[in-house]
């Protein structure tokens, strides 16, 4: 593993119905493209960003602030890619 880095960023869920199936799937797919670990924090709860089931258990509703965190190779890129999903509102609505 090359120079490991940690990167984190806050995002807000703008989706009307919250982080439901389809957006969760997009997060997982994006996260899985990278070798680094991806975690998502909501308050004091942390889930694995590469686990669909885990993300569903967050029940992140509209307006929720989440912290995206990646560590390991490509952490910066992973967080950038994930943030883009939130910024474009998952290209759905």
């Amino acid at each position: 593993m090359s120079s490991s880095s940690v990167c984190s960023r806050d995002v807000v869920v703008a989706l009307e119905n919250g982080l439901h199936m389809s957006p969760s799937a997009q997060i997982v797919q994006t996260a899985q493209r990278f070798d680094c670990d991806v975690r998502i924090h909501k308050g004091d709860k942390t889930v694995d960003g590469k686990s669909m089931l885990d993300i569903l258990t967050l029940a992140a509703q509209h307006g929720t602030t989440l912290t995206l965190e990646a560590s390991g190779e490509g952490a910066q890129e992973a967080v950038d890619a994930l943030e883009k999903l939130f910024v474009t509102n998952f290209a759905t609505e």
């Binding site: 439901h20 997982v28 686990s51 669909m52 089931l53 885990d54």
Partner: protein
């Protein structure tokens, strides 16, 4: 260990492996695998999961091609669920470390997630649990493959858990392997309750959502005395319940010895006790408990068993099986008493869609509008009646015209049989259920036209008090002890006495020892109840004198409120039979 509470509808306690009836009727065949087989089982699991992923990917491709990318995305999400590494890990850990069978492990893990999501308090997300259940089903289908066991082929005793048992589901179960029932919905008069009562197995209904807590295969306890279901009981609980089971069995055996004693009051008045049955096999229960015949043979199960209407021979065979062991005792066969709420597939076409089925085309109303079906049953009854003391009874009669029409059809059937030279019983006794207030109010008109009355308290209470007992919001208003019910029973007894028409009381009231003294005091001399309850009823009868019963009945007349009547009667019962089990 987790305890769920519901409505106790059939007594007894029983521990055993759970069988969850889902919409697709999967059953998890076993809970554990042997340590040696773990690697094989892991491979089996991975293969199944890969197949599921392949299947979903194929669906994704088809949906995207044919319907567009946004529909494909639904499957993309499912695929991500199925490919979730965490899911795979968690299931594999259970298989490897706890030697759970893959079916059980998969179900366990997925149901835990589903339940978690359901309980998040987010309505929209809660619905996503459906997607997880869907994944569970796909996975089980692949795991069980050809081995998927049909419900009708259960080969070991199980406790059946379901949202709601449909008549066709229960009819396809082999009663020998069903130890108990527990359902999420239902009340005292639900199909499950009646079936469990008939099979004499413990049942709890109306538990509310609990199936996501159970995978199937694990040990649970159904406590039909207290209305509890215990999931994954700990050792001491299990031990306690085993003891209870033994105690109940001993008590029942003691009561069954009563079967040989006469059913007479302490002052020597004979009170006839009959059994209510659903299946011919239950005649044995009746005989064991000392019943003097079958006071109510409900024939609905004949119609629920297959997807076709029962033939005359189906009826005839069933009736012969009831009457042959007891050719000298009366057997009252009630004609089809189905309501729109529980029509089986075979009769669905004939049923009307009613916003209010209880007040709709049910029971004798239905048979009078479907004379072919009615005549088939009557032919079989008349033919079987040559083999014993079979009597026929029409349910839900609400007007004289209905009774007379039914009797006219019976005569038509006799004519047909006579023309065909087929032996039948011409002087068959004809009775009617008194279970609609109109019939109770006009009992003096009905009495001369029937050979006997049978007061069906369940429907009589429902129609008199305008309460659907299956509706939990009003179920507390349903009460046998309501003064209006007792008054109607008194009216029927008085009318019947004028015309020397015998009156039997059937329904749950006659099987509850609380009401035995009051019923006898009001002049009832014949009771028909589930065979299970006959010994304790007989015990009450034997302790009682007629003047004592009459005094109790007279006292109830001074009370205005059901609760007071009930409390009073319970108090009296304790005096009559201090050792009675609660």
């Amino acid at each position: 260990m987790e305890i769920k509470r519901g409505i106790a509808v059939s007594p007894g306690v029983v521990p055993g492996p759970a069988l969850v009836l889902g919409t697709e009727d999967f059953r998890i065949p076993r809970r554990f695998v042997s340590v040696d087989a773990v690697e094989i089982e892991l491979t089996r699991f991975r293969t199944a999961l890969d197949s599921v992923c392949g299947e979903i990917a194929e669906n994704e491709r088809l949906a995207s091609e044919r319907l567009g990318a946004q529909y494909g995305a639904i499957f993309t999400a499912h695929l991500n669920l199925a490919r979730d590494p965490k899911l795979r890990d968690e299931i594999e850990v259970l298989i490897r470390e706890k030697t759970y069978a893959p079916e059980f492990a998969s179900s366990r893990v997925l149901r835990r997630y589903a339940k978690f999501i359901q309980n998040l308090g987010d309505h929209y997300m809660a619905e996503r649990a459906v997607d997880i259940f869907d994944l569970e089903k796909r996975l089980l289908r692949h795991l069980l493959g050809e081995q998927r066991e049909e419900l009708s082929h259960i080969t070991e005793p199980v406790l059946v858990l379901a949202h709601n048992l449909t008549p066709s589901e229960t009819a396809s179960l082999d009663p020998d392997y069903v130890l108990g029932f527990a359902t999420e919905v239902g009340g005292h008069t639900s199909h499950t309750a009646i079936l469990a009562g008939a099979l004499e197995i413990p049942a709890v209904v109306g538990i509310g959502p609990f199936l996501s807590d159970v995978s199937g295969g694990e040990t649970i306890i159904i406590d039909g005395n207290h209305g509890e279901v215990i999931i994954d009981p700990d050792e001491s609980t299990l031990k306690r319940y085993h003891d209870t089971q033994v105690r109940i069995k001993t008590a029942n055996e003691k009561l069954e010895q009563l079967g040989r004693l006469e059913s007479k009051t302490a002052d020597g008045v004979s009170i006839k006790l009959y059994g209510n049955i659903e299946f011919p096999e239950e005649v044995d229960h009746c005989i064991q408990r000392g019943a003097e015949g079958v006071g109510l043979y409900r024939t609905e199960f004949l119609y629920l068993k297959d997807d076709r209407e029962p033939s005359e021979e189906d009826h005839f065979d069933a009736y012969r099986r009831v009457v042959d062991p007891i050719p000298d005792l009366p057997v009252v066969i009630r004609t089809l008493d189905l309501g729109a709420e529980k029509f089986p597939h075979s009769l669905e076409e004939l049923a009307e869609v009613s916003p209010n089925p209880v007040l709709g085309l049910r029971s004798v109303r239905f048979t009078l509008r479907n004379l072919g079906l009615f005549k088939t049953q009557l032919r079989a009854i008349l033919r079987a009646a040559t083999y014993g003391d079979i009597r026929v009874m029409f349910p839900l009669v609400s007007s004289m015209l209905e009774l007379r029409q039914a009797k006219m059809i019976l005569s038509d059937v006799m004519e047909d049989l006579e023309e065909e030279g087929i032996p039948f019983r011409r002087d068959i006794q004809v009775g009617m259920m008194v279970e609609v207030p109109s019939a109770a109010l006009l009992a003096d008109r009905f009495a001369p036209e029937v050979d006997f009355f049978s007061i069906g308290t369940n429907d009589l209470i429902q129609y008199t008090l305008a309460v659907d007992r299956a509706n939990p919001t009003v179920a507390d208003l349903y009460n046998c002890a309501d003064p209006s019910i007792l008054k109607l029973i008194r009216m029927v007894v008085a009318a019947a006495r004028k015309h020397d028409t015998p009156v039997v009381v059937c329904g749950q009231m006659s099987g509850d020892p609380t009401y035995t003294a009051a019923l006898i005091g009001m002049g009832i001399r014949e009771l028909s109840a589930t065979p299970f309850s006959l010994p304790v009823i007989k015990q009450v009868v034997r302790e009682l004198t007629i003047p004592q019963a009459e005094e109790i009945a007279a006292h109830t007349e001074c009370l205005d409120v059901a609760r007071d009547v009930e409390n009073y009667l319970r108090g009296e019962l304790k005096k009559i039979l201090p050792e009675i089990l609660d």
